[in-house]
Symmetry: C2
Subunit: 222 residues, 2 copies
DNA sequence: TCTTGATCGTTGCAGATGCAACAGACAATT
DNA sequence: AATTGTCTGTTGCATCTGCAACGATCAAGA
């Protein structure tokens, strides 16, 4: 129970209530190893997953085989087909385990149904879930922010600026590999590397491995 | 009151409760004319807006003046800074009225606070809001779906396919002008027109004004 | 009626980007 | 030690795309 109480989803819910709640929402658990598929968004998934431990990514693969990372999920994060993502015409969307992870599943319908017992924690849970979903909108809109740039250079700078802004520092570690970054900003990796080199040469950013530091030239366009 | 009861946000709430609720959430109203700014996401907006009538768009303008439509809001739709969108470093994000609109504002904090009176409609409202926010995730993820394509051609086809899929027909009207479409898929308008012509020449789509019909060549890549 | 602004449609051109292909570094596994 | 797989870094090349610029059309307003 203690491990649940620490989750954002269960914030403000008394530990002694958690047990009842888990039963109420038909909780079940799952464990996955790196690279393993966690769940596929094929219309069958009616649950909300909460990541207790590990990391995962939400990925789309289209008919041509091109892969796009739609979202990253870390500990405490939620995912689920019911939370808004859908797949289209032959594209498949699914969650893949990155680092070994444990997942708690709750039944969506039971969360959203009005509870006959009028349990206090129920509305708290809904509010918490609301906050988590709002965070998702945030990260999606950041993604749109980046993707809507017209050139690789702008995409990179926009992405870096957002990262720096979020952490409040000019220097930070990329949360994933350069290969994955190319994927995230939806461009060709080699073209991205080329642009990255130019940015480095012009002193706009310093990049060593996954460490990124925004250079002084940053204010150029201000 | 009747006009509110029809809103998705108030679904399942008894008409006689709406009055009390509006007071409870510090409701206020606003009217805007076409082109007028409705609200700016500058950190000051602590309310949720519900569109009673008309249409609006959520727009970002960056330092360089480039404009991007982040979202469309129709009657019954909700918007608000608290719902996840934020602006970064000099970019400004705001809602602009498209067609003359009337807006109902509710105070976000009051919605999310646990209600001392434990009014039944309160949790219903939260659940409804949840559904609306989930819809937003849906539309954002569709946007990402389109933007993450690597070429204008793929962006267009992806957008068309999503539109067709949503309405269940191969033929539909674009919800906005071609200029706005270029904006939505974040490409140069002239380049988009060029690609549109090629698609037409190859028989992949028929386009007359805003009317689009997916051609038989559609299955090409299947 | 004339003007204004928005949308649509087109073109030339330079530079950016996607693609294919390759090689080295590194870690994990056999 | 050999192997496998992933990540990084690079290059040549054909093509795509962004940009600037122009003209036509249309609707709304003065």
């Amino acid at each position: 129970m203690e491990e649940y109480a620490a989750l954002p989803l269960f914030a403000g819910i008394r530990e002694e209530d958690v047990g009842a709640m888990l039963a109420c929402f038909r909780a079940r658990r799952g464990s996955y190893r790196s690279g393993e598929p966690v769940c596929e968004y094929d219309g069958s998934c009616r649950e909300v997953g909460v990541l207790l431990e590990g990391t995962a990514r939400l990925v789309r693969i289209d008919r041509a085989g091109a892969q796009t990372i739609l979202e990253h999920v870390g500990p405490g994060g939620v995912f689920g087909e019911v939370l808004g993502f859908t797949s289209y015409y032959g594209d498949s969307v699914f969650v893949v385990c990155e680092e070994e992870c444990r997942v708690l599943y709750l039944d969506y319908a039971h969360i959203m149904q009005r509870c006959q017992k009028a349990c206090g924690y129920h509305s708290t849970l809904v509010r918490n879930m609301f906050a988590l979903v709002t965070d998702q909108i945030c990260s999606l809109s950041r993604r749109v922010e980046v993707l809507s740039r017209r050139s690789i250079r702008e995409k990179l700078m926009s992405y870096f600026a957002i990262q720096a802004g979020e952490r409040g520092r000019e220097e930070f570690l990329l949360p994933f590999s350069l290969t994955a970054l190319a994927d995230y900003i939806s461009t060709d990796r080699s073209a991205m590397m080329r642009e990255l080199r130019r940015l480095r040469e012009e002193g706009l950013v310093e990049i060593t491995g996954r460490r990124v530091r925004l250079g002084p030239g940053d204010k150029a366009e201000a």
